[in-house]
């Protein structure tokens, strides 16, 4: 039994899920992601590396193979853990949503198929050893998530769905064009045989990923999509999907870093400005999910900053992905829990002192914000390595140092500002609700890992593994 089988398992489950009733489907979906989660964690701990051929294809496509290294495993673990927990959470949430929409229970069949397809395509994406394969999974994940928004989203969901589709499709096809130029130059798209990425393809891929990530400017699609998606989907979109742009950039960088090195100054300034800009935007939001969406933009700025910062920065990038995934998944689920228990409540003006009514959700939100701002959670390492990379590349460049520090400060500030606005203060007149345990326990499971990853044995395994995958030597 090799890892391919583990990865095939959730894929197969996807296609049989529609047969089952909602409860069983929930359990199956959760299990189908928990297994890869634990196996990839184990492989991460053992610093497993390897390749597994899927298909021999001629030039210019090159072999389709699965790529296993600690970076993939780190991403894979994050994706499968979050997907499993969100799957559990989906059951009570979507039940509420279907009731609200007047849809029947049978709607769950479609939902589970799309949900699993969405999550599993992201999982496969990070193990893809071929840029084309990677692109295919990128688009499948886009497709499935689009359908979920289109069918079950809030507000003007069809408009939002199309908006999301158009933006991310532009991101995808720009990257695809870049990939094809790479394919022509190298006569392959297999990651292990790629040698050069020219300027134009790098630019196209970079632009595509900046749209997807998103950076300042294109970021405007994200608050719409992430806020109006049904919350379990937001809890995958925001933590997992957008960050995959960072993963793609990382893989390209590892082949040929020339572009980033050449335009480092411009990129890092853009990244910093975009992070600060989005961070400041958070304060003005009065919709809980929109607020979180802007925070995602800000956090993705970290990813873009990290890629400019040499090998320490790359370590920071991987950890930032994980930490943001954990934190934002928790936070979106807290928003969803409030929506589900208070009948669509998401306006900050109508939330005050929510700790009074949903203490467990409030505590989970605290853990989520701690992860975002790097307090005793894995986020701490992300910030540490970004700062380390900053020192390595920029030494005592006061301007950039203070800007990056400002970025981190703003994250902390909006985190606790939001805590105050939503959970603290004189409670409003609500009843203390009863709600399903599935709306809060999965959040704590994620938080547990978020904290556990700063201690042995997970921390050294993760960090040594990434180091190994990046080539071992820290300059």
């Amino acid at each position: 039994m090799n890892f391919l089988h583990i990865l095939l398992f959730p894929l197969l489950i996807t296609f049989i899920l529609p047969i089952f009733r909602a409860r069983i489907a929930t359990a199956l979906s959760t299990i189908s992601f928990l297994i890869p989660a634990f196996v990839s964690l184990y492989l991460l701990l053992t610093a497993h590396r390897g390749e597994e051929l899927l298909m021999n294809l001629p030039a210019p496509i090159g072999d389709f193979y699965l790529l296993y290294d600690p970076i993939s495993h780190a991403f894979g673990f994050t994706i499968s853990l979050v997907s499993a927990m969100v799957a559990l959470y989906s059951l009570p949430y979507m039940k509420h949503r279907f009731e609200e929409m007047g849809a029947k229970e049978g709607e769950f069949r479609k939902y589970w198929f799309l949900y699993n397809l969405y999550a599993v395509s992201m999982l496969w994406l990070v193990y893809s050893g071929n840029l084309l394969l990677l692109y295919i999974f990128l688009e499948i994940s886009l497709l499935a998530s689009f359908m979920l928004i289109y069918l079950y989203g809030y507000g003007n969901r069809q408009w939002v769905g199309i908006l999301y589709f158009v933006w991310t499709h532009i991101a995808g096809v720009l990257a695809l064009t870049g990939f094809l130029i790479v394919a022509f130059a190298n006569q392959t798209l297999a990651l292990n045989e790629l040698k050069v990425i020219g300027f134009i393809p790098w630019l196209l891929i970079f632009l595509g990923m900046v749209v997807k990530l998103p950076g300042l400017g294109p970021h405007i699609w994200l608050p719409w999509a992430h806020a109006e998606a049904p919350t379990p989907v937001s809890a995958l979109l925001s933590p997992l999907t957008v960050g995959l742009a960072g993963y793609v950039l990382l893989r390209i960088y590892l082949i040929d870093s020339s572009f980033i090195v050449q335009f480092r100054e411009i990129i890092i300034f853009y990244a910093i400005i975009s992070s600060i800009y989005a961070g400041l935007s958070v304060f003005k939001q009065r919709d809980y999910k929109r607020l979180l969406a802007y925070s995602t933009v800000s956090q993705m700025g970290y990813v873009l900053i990290a890629i400019c910062l040499g090998s320490y920065g790359l370590i920071g990038l991987v950890i930032q992905y994980m930490s943001h995934a954990f934190g934002k998944a928790i936070l979106f689920m807290t928003a969803g829990a409030i929506i589900a228990t208070f009948h669509g409540l998401r306006n900050l003006d109508k939330m005050k002192g929510m700790h009074e009514f949903v203490p467990t959700i409030s505590n989970a939100a605290l853990l989520g914000f701690m992860t975002l701002s790097g307090i005793i959670t894995i986020g701490m390492f992300a910030e540490f390595f970004i700062l380390l990379g900053l020192t390595q590349i920029y030494g005592f460049n006061l301007q950039i140092i203070s800007l990056v520090v400002l970025v981190f400060i703003i994250s902390g500030l909006y985190s606790f500002y939001t805590m105050k606005e939503i959970y603290y203060g004189t409670p409003m007149a609500y009843e203390k609700p009863k709600f399903s345990r599935l709306l809060d326990l999965p959040l704590y499971a994620i938080a547990l890992f978020s904290v556990a990853f700063i201690f042995p044995p997970l921390a050294p395994a993760l960090l040594d593994g990434i180091k190994l995958a990046l080539g071992g030597v820290m300059p």
């Binding site: 359908m147 158009v166 096809v173 720009l174 130029i181």
Partner: protein, 404 residues
């Protein structure tokens, strides 16, 4: 390999089918189907062409009570045979004949309807087709002349005339004016044939003639192709954005798709091992267009499941692993290696522009009651889009095999 003898056999049987159709349309259907099966042993590419024809045949059943019931089957198979044969011939006279042969039956098909003959779209269509045929044939002749005389002005004149003929024939913008009107007024099933089976031959003939007459000027002249294809993509995709009638949306989508196919032409002067990607891309795009149009027009006619509509739409938009992705993939690759990066980028942007209207199309074609025939045809076309789950390097191989 299809020989002239095969064609002769087929023609004889089809004539019988035509005659018998006055007696019994079922017999005609059976004989026509038999012809299709006679050709089945050939290459996979031909197989795909034939499956387009079979789907056309089946969907014809949805308008069984048309004016030429029975004869229509023979006409379709006749076109199919011509389409299959065009891959194998390289005689300029034969090519031009095939061009006409595929064009003419559509004059009749476009007017078919249950009840009385649908003349209005017929007039528009025929008017344009006649001009197209004439310009195309004259263009080829002039082109050949320019090629033989080594005269660049004549060559370019012929070249442009050929392009114009082709554009008029298949409905490339800015020669697309007939398309939306005809598509929305004619019977959906007849249009499904015009939009699918009839589109292959003009392109292949044009390709073969261009290749035969290639000079060092061709690369330069292909720039005109590139520009026209870009115009067509934009006109088609943007035009569709606000169209409300599903048939009109599909008309604009056809214009856009023809633009994509035309884009593949920009790369035909590439070295041999690369040019196959361009041809494969163009051809695959034609197949996507053909299957997709059959599926959608059937959906308009009698309804189909929303799953298949979604699949078709996603394929048109170009999402992997559906067929529509791979056609664009090969076309973009072709554009990349022939240094038409700008066109590649325009093409991918166009695929993004097309998203809203394809999704609207799914909503517009959503119905509660579905007829069995149309639903089956649409479902089959949707699943055909999935055959590229196996990356279609095999398709490139097929193209290589046929066009050796």
């Amino acid at each position: 390999m299809i020989t002239e003898l095969d064609i002769l056999k087929a023609l004889v049987i089809l004539t019988f089918a035509g005659i018998l159709s006055y007696k019994n349309s079922i017999l005609s259907l059976a004989l026509s189907t038999l012809v299709v099966f006679l050709f089945l042993e050939s290459n996979g590419l031909i197989l795909m062409v034939l499956s387009v024809a079979i789907l056309n045949l089946i969907s014809m059943l949805a308008i069984r009570k048309n004016q030429i019931a029975g004869l229509d089957y023979a006409l379709i198979v006749f076109m199919a045979i011509a389409t299959a044969y065009v891959f194998f011939t390289s005689d300029i006279a034969e090519l031009l004949v095939l061009f006409v042969v595929v064009s003419v039956p559509t004059y009749l098909i476009v007017m078919l309807d249950e009840g009385k003959l649908n003349v209005d779209p017929g007039i528009k269509y025929i008017a344009f087709m006649v001009i197209a045929t004439v310009v195309f044939i004259i263009g080829s002749a002039v082109l050949y002349l320019g090629y033989s005389w080594q005269n660049s002005t004549i060559y370019l004149l012929g070249f442009v005339a050929l392009l114009i003929g082709l554009a008029l024939e298949v409905g490339v913008a800015p020669f697309h004016e007939w398309v939306p009107d005809v598509f929305s007024n004619a019977n959906p099933i007849s249009i499904s044939i015009i939009a699918s089976l009839a589109k292959f031959v003009p392109f292949i003939v044009a390709y073969k003639i261009l290749l035969m007459t290639a000079t060092e000027l061709t690369s330069l002249a292909l720039l005109i192709f590139a520009v026209i294809s870009a115009i067509s993509m934009f006109i088609g995709n943007i035009g569709a954005l606000t169209a409300k009638d599903p048939a009109r949306i599909l008309a604009y989508s056809t214009i856009a798709n023809m633009g994509y196919v035309l884009a593949a032409f920009s790369a035909i002067m590439a070295p041999r091992e690369l040019v196959y990607y361009a041809i494969a891309g163009g051809l695959l795009q034609l197949f996507v267009n053909a299957f997709g149009k059959i599926g959608f027009f059937n959906a308009i006619k009698g309804g189909s499941s929303s799953l298949s509509n979604y699949l078709l739409s996603f394929s048109f938009i170009g999402l992997p692993p559906l067929m529509g992705f791979w056609s664009k993939f090969f076309i973009i690759y072709a554009l990349v290696f022939s240094n038409y990066l700008w066109l590649a980028i325009l093409l991918v942007l166009n695929s993004a522009i097309s998203i809203p209207y394809y999704l609207r199309l799914v909503r517009l074609t959503e119905v509660s009651s579905k007829s069995l025939i149309t639903n089956t045809v649409a479902t089959v076309t949707a699943f055909v889009m999935l055959i590229t789950l196996i990356p279609p390097v095999w398709f490139v191989e097929l193209v290589k095999e046929v066009l050796k």
